[in-house]
């Protein structure tokens, strides 16, 4: 290609493909933060937190701008170092990616607001590294969502994992043990993913997601392709804590510090679920593998088993965080159910649940963190009567709990609504029944806790030490999330019609619009 002709072609290609700087701008503040916060923080400790907060806020701002830009103008692309894809690495943001990125960044921002005070109270010595690791975690997660390159995703995957392992190791005395186990299993998962990528590269010669998708659609069924799909599912399932690969999660969430859990629990497993959606539906030929070859059925049944195992284990727990950890296993499994059912409504339910569960779980973990810090209560029986002494905190908790059970008009109800609708469309009545029955299990452990929290404790009239609402900075995210759970529920149709209906893969469209 001669120079001028080539340049024009590149420009035309660029304009038609929605080139924009926005995707990299979402990542850049976090990247700069990763470098500046440890550096400047070791010099002046007090600067670490404000810098972190600014980085998160900027990232969230750009994430929302990206979301609106994608909704209006279609997918956005940014080529790193101007090497055009498929040779170069690009960031490719479609509606789904922008949606998940926005959710992750806003949840992270809210937790960061909480963390300002929480970290100072829980881990004053390691404040600077803690914030540094939070930035690393978010960098990795955001990168994973926005990238359009398979290997680049692996790199960001491991970056986020490193942040995760480090954050999980801070906290309880036993935390490093569970963090190490998570490290082994998480690396195993990422390695399986990498193997899957390896096979894909062997078969298609490309690493760009869109490119690979195009090539795969012409390939039909190929044993190597099936193997690579299975490896990816296993790897991502490990990171997502899909049954039966969920065993690392309860210990890890329980022993980590409350802020670590608050930032990891709502988003890390969710992003792995997002990657699974991205791979299964946007890279591989989903109809072929999920429907015709029943991979979808396997995922579906494993997932519903995960829902029940998680819920039943949660009922038997005596520690608050451990109960919520098992609850997370169950809730992420709902997303697995939606993925496995592989029809538009169920997939919308899964995607919606990514956002909904992130909001609910972060609120719940923020509450348990506040309670632990204010009263030292870790076990459920120590929560008795706290509703009166920490009214605002538990107001947020009540809303989030109702959303977890799936009571209208909170957002949890609508996730289940779409999943159930999806199941009915496909005639999967047993699955529908199981989804509904699992809500009852969730109701058991949440209502039991609510009953305990709001009852009077016999024979105790004075407040135990420190039993009052935490400071405004810690309360604000809890309340915002509690109200948010209601608002997201009432206005879920906006998300579904404006955002998610555009986020569906090829060959799927949402009825009723």
């Amino acid at each position: 290609m001669s120079g001028a002709h080539g340049a024009e072609a590149v420009v035309d290609h660029a304009v038609s493909m929605g080139q924009s700087h926005l995707p990299i701008l979402v990542i850049l503040p976090l990247l700069l933060g990763c470098v500046l916060v440890p550096g400047l923080g070791l010099w002046r400790r007090r600067w670490a937190y404000p810098l972190t907060l600014v980085a998160f806020a900027l990232s969230a701002y750009f994430a929302f701008r990206t979301l609106f830009a994608v909704l209006e103008g279609g997918p956005l692309h940014y080529t790193l170092a101007s090497w055009a894809p498929p040779v170069g690495i690009e960031l490719a943001v479609d509606a789904l990616g922008a949606f998940v990125a926005a959710v992750v960044s806003i949840i992270a921002l809210l937790v960061a607001v909480y963390a300002g005070e929480a970290v100072r109270r829980e881990n004053p010595v390691r404040e600077v590294p803690f914030f540094g690791m939070m930035l690393v975690l978010l960098l990795g997660l955001t990168g994973m969502v926005l990238t359009g390159d398979l290997f680049n995703l692996y790199v960001f995957f491991e970056v986020s994992s490193l942040g995760g392992y480090s954050l999980m190791a801070i906290g309880h005395k036993k935390a490093p043990i569970s963090a190490f186990r998570y490290l082994i299993m998480g690396t195993l998962g990422a390695s399986f993913y990498l193997m899957g990528v390896g096979y894909l590269y062997l078969l298609t010669g490309s690493l760009n997601m869109a490119d690979v998708a195009g090539i795969i659609s012409t390939m039909g069924l190929n044993p190597a392709l099936l193997v690579s799909l299975v490896m990816m599912v296993v790897g991502l399932g490990l990171k997502m804590a899909l049954f039966p690969m969920h065993l690392w999660l309860p210990d890890a969430y329980t022993y980590a510090s409350s802020t670590s859990t608050a930032i990891i629990a709502p988003i890390m497993t969710k992003i792995s679920a997002y990657v699974m959606i991205r791979m299964l539906f946007f890279v591989y030929d989903w109809d072929l593998f999920l429907n015709v070859h029943h991979i979808g059925d396997i995922i579906k049944w494993l997932a519903i088993a995960g829902v029940f195992v998680g819920s039943i284990m949660a009922i038997g727990q005596k520690d608050a965080k451990r109960m919520l950890a098992y609850s997370s296993v169950a809730q992420v499994a709902y997303i697995g159910v939606g993925i496995g059912m592989a029809n538009p409504l169920a997939l919308v339910g899964a995607m919606l649940h990514i956002m909904n569960h992130a909001a609910m779980k972060s609120c719940l973990f923020l509450v348990t963190g506040s309670v632990a810090m204010q009263t030292g209560a870790q076990r459920l029986k120590d929560y008795a009567g706290l509703g009166r002494r920490m009214p605002w905190t538990f107001a947020g908790f009540t809303f989030a709990a109702m959303a977890m059970v799936g009571l209208p008009p909170t957002n949890g109800f609508f996730s289940k609504w779409y999943l159930v609708l999806g199941g009915i469309e496909d005639g999967e009545w047993p699955m529908v029944g199981l989804i509904l029955a699992s809500s009852l299990l969730t109701a058991v452990y949440f209502f039991r806790l609510l009953e305990r929290v709001y009852s009077k404790v016999p024979g105790e009239e004075q407040k135990p030490a420190g039993a009052e609402d935490p400071s405004f900075r810690m309360r604000l995210p809890i309340l915002l999330l509690g109200v948010g759970v209601l608002v997201l529920g009432l206005f879920n149709a906006w998300f579904v019609s404006r955002v998610l209906s555009q986020a569906l893969p090829h060959g799927m469209s949402l009825p009723g619009f």
Partner: protein, 128 residues
């Protein structure tokens, strides 16, 4: 039989080696009690994947992927550089993860005096 032998072992022995390494790595990660051995197993597992990529990059009769005036611009003359580049990154990631793991192990050993999985799990299950 002869066919399988030729195809599987003679022609693709490198991939077979990869499989063997994966099995060793997985076995170590799951079955060994000592945490350091688990870590080594993890490294072996990651090494196997790296090997997979590298093996794929090989071309019969090709040279190293450095441009040579003598060989010219023909792609068949050079090995595929992309997997090499990817695996350099993967090695870096592996090293970083190993570093974090070793830091965790040091911390565990300092706190609990043992890096045996069974003993540590017992300590985990004890009340705080």
């Amino acid at each position: 039989m002869n066919d399988i032998f030729t195809t599987l072992i003679a022609e693709r022995w490198a991939y077979l080696l990869t499989v063997v390494m994966i099995i060793i790595g997985l076995h170590a990660m799951m079955m060994k009690r000592n945490l350091v051995k688990k870590l080594i197993g993890m490294n072996i597992f990651q090494g196997a994947i790296i090997l997979l990529f590298i093996v794929h990059a090989y071309k019969f009769g090709a040279s190293v992927p450095v441009h040579d005036a003598v060989l010219g611009d023909h792609p068949e003359a050079y090995m595929n550089p992309i997997p090499h580049g990817l695996m350099l990154t993967a090695i870096v990631v592996s090293v970083a993860t190993t570093g974090v793991a070793l830091a965790l192990l040091t911390l565990i050993y300092r706190r609990f005096g043992t890096i045996d999985e069974i003993e540590l799990l017992q300590k985990l299950r004890e009340e705080p």
